[in-house]
Symmetry: C2
Subunit: 409 residues, 2 copies
């Protein structure tokens, strides 16, 4: 993206202080893949003994680096692992050339780090359909390896940005009976997510000592309640990737049953997911949609996403219009079970509609006041069962149109 | 809608000359349901012997008039039929009050026309969730009945408009071995348009003599290829209604096997469907998406709608950006079968991508030239089978945001 975007009005005040995670080091470099005058490649190197787990886009047109990661992710990691990410070019829909580019990059990282090629994971984010200038990346590998720094995670968060208006980080420390462990994660993403420049990439690290199976099970389950519950524009990227590495450097063993660790990890993942929504292209409102009383959790999720992805709901939010009729419409079209006359709709704590019609206690002024807030909660109870789901989204504004229609991103 | 919108740049030159359909008369009136200074109620009265068939929204939160129509639509019609439509208020999500309002209106129409209540069909379109001021409509019924005119169909098309920027009509005459019959139809619709019939209202009339079963079968089948293949914003209305009346006044009998009649009717329905897209809120481009080579027709339709509803594709079209990467993304996210390396993408006759990458013959200038046209054809071949589908949509512009976020419609 040539044009510099103003920082999102929903951005957090600053980047959080992320702790050093023993066993992982970071480096960034200006490789000029596409952008000039900024870092665009980051390398994370995990020490021997680390395990790596991942979750990836389900797109049928996945990018070459995603396919390569998926092939490798199940393996053991006695030798450590490397994660190399470039911004500016997604290396997606680049045919055989794309796979060759991944091969060149992973081979070069393997050579520079002494790792086997099977322990090198890459991600690429940026424009689709243009060949990745992999030689610009491989030319910088020695510089990257020399620059590895345990405290380099904030620089890494900046190097992977595309249309993002702020770098995204989150952290947690967990005191377990067996000892203390730390979690630190970074993300990039600004739409759910545009293939040109705004794919979601997430990298999380912990010094906990975990089996790969336990780590994979934990992030897969939590992903369903965090990153898979956000939407900016209903458009799924070809490159979405979440990789998590556990270095074991703390010596503290964590298993699948350690709920305190899982809760802390969910907090980090949810925080990063919310930051992606807060940086949604053109966003001015952060919207929580909580659906209860559905026939099943799946039905609740279908309704919640139907509301979250409705252009008419999203424009009403942008216009600070308490247009609950559009919420009724979105429920009606979702395909999941609903009974018009059992519906209850709330804006925050304001009861808007119940029993198939506007509540006698509701006034337009109450609704309008809620809609003027930067953070809006839409509550829907279907009155049918105990299914529930919560999703997070942002509004649809002139800013989104400008970013995506007025010039090529 | 208070604000007057400029006529769509995609609008046809003028309203077509619709023929008189013997056996049906029209009247309109200014009832002040919500709008001032314009007609907002229309009555169509069909002579005894007419049959009426209908197709309705599948929304789970259907409006009261839709539910009433659905209850009545299967019956016989020895006495003729009446269709009364108001704009300005959708009488949707209005609880028991909504059903009572329909009861008041249909009873008054029955009384004024001498028809049984079961032969009175109503539609309402406009704001959701506000009580319908039915007394404003019933106060005008005598005036409506006095004003009935066989040539009043163009006025009827104007009275049912909401955010529409032009009235919509289409016609056909069919010479069958057994005689000549005429078809004339009108429609309204501009936003909340997605393939479960949008706030789209369509009324079609013919002087053919048909059984209700044959008429219903014909419109249901054709609806799947016409109105259910358009989308403006993926938002399905609570009020979509298509009613078709056959008066039999020509004395020409038409049956289910009369393919010339079915083809002419499909032409009328497709014309009206395209006019709805051409009046899509904020639209500046008319986009045809033709998908071939899918594993099934259903898969082809899933891909085509995924492309048509993608905000990123729609904003790229608005920006005249030949951003075929976004089309790859939309195919990848649709959930239907696709193989990245077998995909072929065309803009009109320009081959853009094939075999998983941009075509060697493609130049950005070629794509950009195609995107500057007001009518754009996106062709996708999946290379998997013989499934095919075509859908029609428009672009997503600042105009859509202005209409839906800047003030309440």
């Amino acid at each position: 993206m040539a044009k510099t975007l103003a920082r999102s009005p929903l951005a957090p005040e600053g980047f959080p202080a992320l702790p050093v995670i023993d066993g992982v080091r970071f480096a960034t470099v200006q490789a000029g893949v596409r952008y000039q005058g900024r870092t665009d490649v980051m390398l994370a190197l995990l020490d021997p003994g680390s395990v790596v787990a991942g979750v990836f886009t389900r797109s049928a047109t996945r990018a070459a680096p995603v396919l390569d990661c998926q092939r490798k992710i199940g393996g053991e990691a006695p030798d450590g692992a490397a994660i190399l990410v470039n911004s500016g070019n997604a290396n997606a829909f680049t045919g055989k050339n794309g796979e060759e580019a991944v091969g060149h990059v992973t081979a070069a990282v393997a050579k520079a780090t002494g790792l086997p090629d099977t322990r090198v994971f890459t991600s690429s984010t940026g424009v689709i359909g243009e060949p990745l200038k992999h030689e610009r990346i491989t030319a910088k590998l020695d510089e990257l390896v020399e620059g590895l720094d345990p405290a380099g995670i904030e620089s890494a968060a900046k190097a992977i940005m595309t249309t993002d208006t702020f770098p995204k980080g989150a952290t947690a420390e967990v005191d377990l009976p067996q000892g203390r462990v730390k979690i630190a994660g970074i993300a990039k993403g600004s739409g759910m997510i545009a293939p040109d420049m705004a794919t979601m990439l997430v990298y999380i690290f912990t010094d906990a000592k975990m089996s790969r199976t336990d780590l994979q099970g934990m992030i897969s389950a939590i992903n369903e309640r965090t990153f898979n519950c956000i939407t900016v524009d209903s458009d799924t990227s070809t490159s979405d990737t979440l990789l998590m590495g556990a270095t074991g450097a703390s010596g503290v063993e964590v298993g699948a049953q350690d709920s305190a660790f899982a809760e802390a990890l969910e907090g980090v993942m949810l925080d990063l997911a919310h930051q992606v929504v807060r940086d949604g292209e053109g966003a001015t409102k952060f919207v929580t949609i909580a659906v209860t009383g559905a026939e099943s959790d799946a039905d609740a999720r279908t309704h919640a996403l139907s509301i979250a992805n409705s252009p008419l709901v999203k424009t009403a939010v942008a216009g600070e219009d308490p247009n609950w009729g559009r919420i009724v419409m979105a429920i009606g079209k979702s395909g999941a079970a609903a009974d018009r006359d059992l519906l209850t709709i709330r804006f925050g704590d304001v009861l808007v509609a119940e029993k198939g019609w506007v509540s006698p206690s509701y006034s337009e002024e109450q609704g309008a006041a809620k809609m003027k807030q930067p953070e809006i909660e839409i509550g829907v109870d279907l009155g049918l069962g105990s299914g529930a789901a919560t999703v997070w989204t942002c509004d649809l504004t002139h800013g989104y149109i400008s970013i995506n229609a007025d010039y090529r991103s």
